[in-house]
């Protein structure tokens, strides 16, 4: 090259302004714009479906959190109780007393409705029996004025929530058109009202004919005991296995095989674990059916690979220089791992564990096979230990059970259950995020 050619490059290039795009640049700019547009469209689509999902869950599920009650001021004297107990149809006597009290309240409001005992039964169920049981259990309340909150039947509840209307109902033994006049009158008198549905959150499942009384509380307890089992088993086993594989195990064909299998296990459909649980825990080991203990064991098998994989990832993320430093001052391998590596990996391990637990909490398929689905969890377990072995349901299993029932009243409960389940899952994920933020990278 000569000096002149260095000064004026005459290699066929023309002086082009930087503001004028050539064809290639334009094409590249277009491609980039297109790609960004795809990304935005993809995210927008995802968000749209998410919003639709949440909107439908909330709109369908929120009504489950209110219930319709008839509250009547009622006083029963000792004398009245004795009289009622001496009649032949005892509950009818109580019903009559209740109807009298109801009539009195309606009169005070200046409303006049004709109704008979059958109508009350259609609206509120067997009122007499409820009152009788109450006073038998609480004799000290005799003579005192008490406000009875009696749950309205699910059809009346549906009438309030717009599920049932005068046009859609057919006269049946469950509800008649004329009953709705009574309901309207009670509403006007302020006797029938909608309140927050605590029994839904704290209660247990009810029979198939009583959607109004169904609650998710017992299955929350069932899920809680299952999660205890999962946590108590999968965290120590998973962490110990990962530490051994990651820090101590020799690298050979056998450990490679184990590694591949663990990764594969994480992808095994959960129903397969259900079948395994049925065969091993129930048919072979004769553990009780529908017990949270068995559910927990099955979910432990399912969660273990997740925990092992995330624990190994967080152990790997600890820089080797920390291990070298510990070994360099004469720590043994175990001291290096337990004093230095494990504390640094702990937030990652915890996050992985919580996410694994959240996954297990929402798992339904394996529970199908061990009898936790379709089971009517009518009450709470008797004690802490019984909580593991007494038949119970779990949240997702309960939701599935409700969704499969015929009565439309249960449909609403299923959606409400989904909201509760999502609240639990969100809480767990938020805890995981907080832990990760708090302990993030200290080296």
């Amino acid at each position: 090259m000569t000096d002149t050619s260095m000064q004026t490059p005459e290699t066929g290039r023309q002086a082009v302004s930087l503001t004028a795009y050539d064809a290639r640049t334009r094409k590249r700019a277009k491609a980039e714009k297109r790609f960004r547009a795809y990304g935005i469209v993809a995210i927008a689509t995802g968000l749209f479906f998410l919003i639709v999902l949440f909107a439908s869950i909330l709109s369908e599920g929120i009504p489950a959190f209110t219930r319709t009650v008839v509250s009547v001021d009622f006083t029963l004297t000792q004398q009245e109780q004795e009289e009622a107990e001496s009649t032949l149809f005892k509950t009818k006597a109580y019903s009559d007393l209740f109807i009298a009290a109801l009539n009195k309240e309606l009169d005070e409001s200046g409303l006049q409705v004709d109704f008979d005992e059958a109508a009350i039964e259609r609206l509120l169920g067997k009122v007499g029996g409820t009152i009788r049981t109450f006073y038998a259990d609480n004799p000290d309340k005799l003579g005192e004025p008490i406000e009875f909150d009696l749950a309205a039947s699910s059809r009346v509840d549906g009438y309030f929530k717009g599920r049932v209307s005068r046009d859609t109902i057919q006269d049946s033994r469950f509800l008649q058109k004329s009953d709705l006049d009574l309901v309207d009158a009670l509403k006007e008198a302020g006797i029938i009202k909608q309140v927050f549905n605590w029994p839904f959150i704290t209660g247990a499942d009810s029979g198939v004919d009583n959607p109004g009384g169904a609650g998710i509380g017992a299955s929350v307890v069932g899920s809680f005991f299952m999660m205890l089992v999962v946590l108590a088993l999968s965290l120590p086993i998973g962490v110990a296995a990962s530490i051994y594989l990651e820090e101590f195990a020799p690298q050979n064909k056998f450990t490679d095989l184990i590694e591949v299998n663990i990764s594969n296990l994480a992808a095994v459909p959960s129903i397969v674990f259900g079948i395994l649980g049925l065969a091993v825990f129930i048919q072979f080991m004769h553990l009780p059916q529908s017990a949270p203990l068995v559910g927990g064991l099955v979910l432990t098998l399912m969660t273990l690979p997740t925990i092992i994989i995330s624990t190994r990832a967080s152990l790997k993320a600890v820089p080797p220089s920390i291990r070298d430093a510990a070994l360099g001052v004469g720590a043994s391998k175990m001291q290096a791992v337990f004093h230095h590596v494990l504390p640094l990996a702990a937030p990652g391990i915890l996050t992985g564990t919580i996410i694994g637990l959240a996954q297990a909490l929402g798992e339904t398929a394996p529970l199908l096979l061990i009898g936790m689905v379709g089971f009517v969890a009518r009450g709470y377990p008797d004690g802490f230990l019984a909580g593991f072995t007494e038949p119970n349901s779990a949240m997702p299993a309960q939701i599935y059970t409700w969704a499969a029932r015929a009565d439309v009243g249960f449909y609403e409960k299923a959606w409400g259950g989904i909201i509760i389940l999502l609240i639990f899952l969100l809480t767990m994920n938020i805890i995981a995020i907080i832990l990760r933020r708090r302990f993030e990278r200290r080296w």
Binding site: P250, Q251, P319, S321, I322, R323, D324, A325, A326, L327, G328, V329, G330, A331, S332, K333, Q335, H339, H340, L344, R442, W443
Partner: protein, 265 residues
């Protein structure tokens, strides 16, 4: 060449701390260190120089059996610390590493307080009977690491919050806290600026009074400044070993000459 180094040794009066004979290291099928014979003397700074990948760090890691942590590495030959074979089956590497301390290329303080960083070694080896003794060891080590004045008011602060040079001096303090007899340093200044490097070099010179120091370095100036003995490695071979002055001014092997004049490596 061997004859030459033997001649050189006669000049020296220090006794031999670590005697390495016919040392071989294999990484799987790769023969990383070939037939290396080196004598590390007591109260002397020995520098290992050579181009990247020549095996000097590998050889250094043999001296406190850090290569044990690498599954594929195999070490052969005889390494005698005060006449005892360190690769003897009865030797626990943990005890060996308490005697042969190590400082790494990248400052790697534990993500704990400055105090705990230094106290960790004495704690696991049970060197202190009580808190007062431990405090004393920590202060003494930090003073020897020439960092006491800078950190004495914030011993509870995390060691990772110090600057790079301070971190490296903290690591040196941590290494001397266990009272080692040999201190191995694997490119201790490669991540440091010239000022921190000067501080660490000064420190190495002071440490020579009590320890036998082995330092791997890429900087030939550094080797010339701090060491009394220099070993030049090339492609897994020990090319030349002798008095630092002689290696840098009058190398015997043509390869050494090419390297120190910048023609290879």
């Amino acid at each position: 060449m061997n004859d030459m180094s033997r001649v050189e040794r006669q000049v020296d009066t220090n006794e031999i701390k670590l005697e390495c004979r016919d040392c071989q290291v294999f990484y799987g099928d790769t023969h990383a260190i070939k037939d290396v014979n080196v004598d590390i003397e007591d109260k002397t700074v020995t520098a290992f120089i050579g181009p990247s990948g020549c095996g000097k760090s590998t050889f250094l890691r043999c001296l406190n059996r850090m290569n044990d942590t690498i599954d594929v590495a195999r070490v052969q030959g005889s390494f005698k610390l005060d006449g005892e074979d360190i690769y003897d089956k009865r030797v626990d590497p943990v005890q060996l590493r308490a005697k042969v301390g190590m400082v790494f290329q990248k400052p790697n303080p534990f993500p704990k307080s400055i105090y705990d960083n230094v106290a960790y070694g004495p704690r696991i080896h049970g060197l202190a009977k009580n808190k007062a003794e431990l405090d004393e060891i920590v202060e003494k080590s930090l003073r020897r690491g020439a960092i006491w004045e800078e950190v004495k008011d914030r011993l509870d602060a995390p060691g990772t919050g110090l600057s790079g040079g301070q971190q490296q001096r903290l690591c040196i303090a941590r290494a001397v806290a266990t009272e080692p007899e040999v201190l191995l340093m694997d490119e201790p200044c490669s991540a440091l600026d010239p000022i921190a490097t000067a501080q660490v070099e000064e420190l190495i010179d002071e440490l020579r009074a009590q320890y036998s120091v082995v330092i791997v370095t890429h900087s030939m100036q550094q080797a010339a400044r701090v060491s009394q003995k220099t070993a030049f490695f090339h492609l897994g071979n020990l090319v030349e070993f002798g008095e630092t002055g002689q290696i840098f001014t009058n190398p015997v092997d043509p390869r050494t000459e090419s390297y120190i004049t910048g023609r290879i490596g």
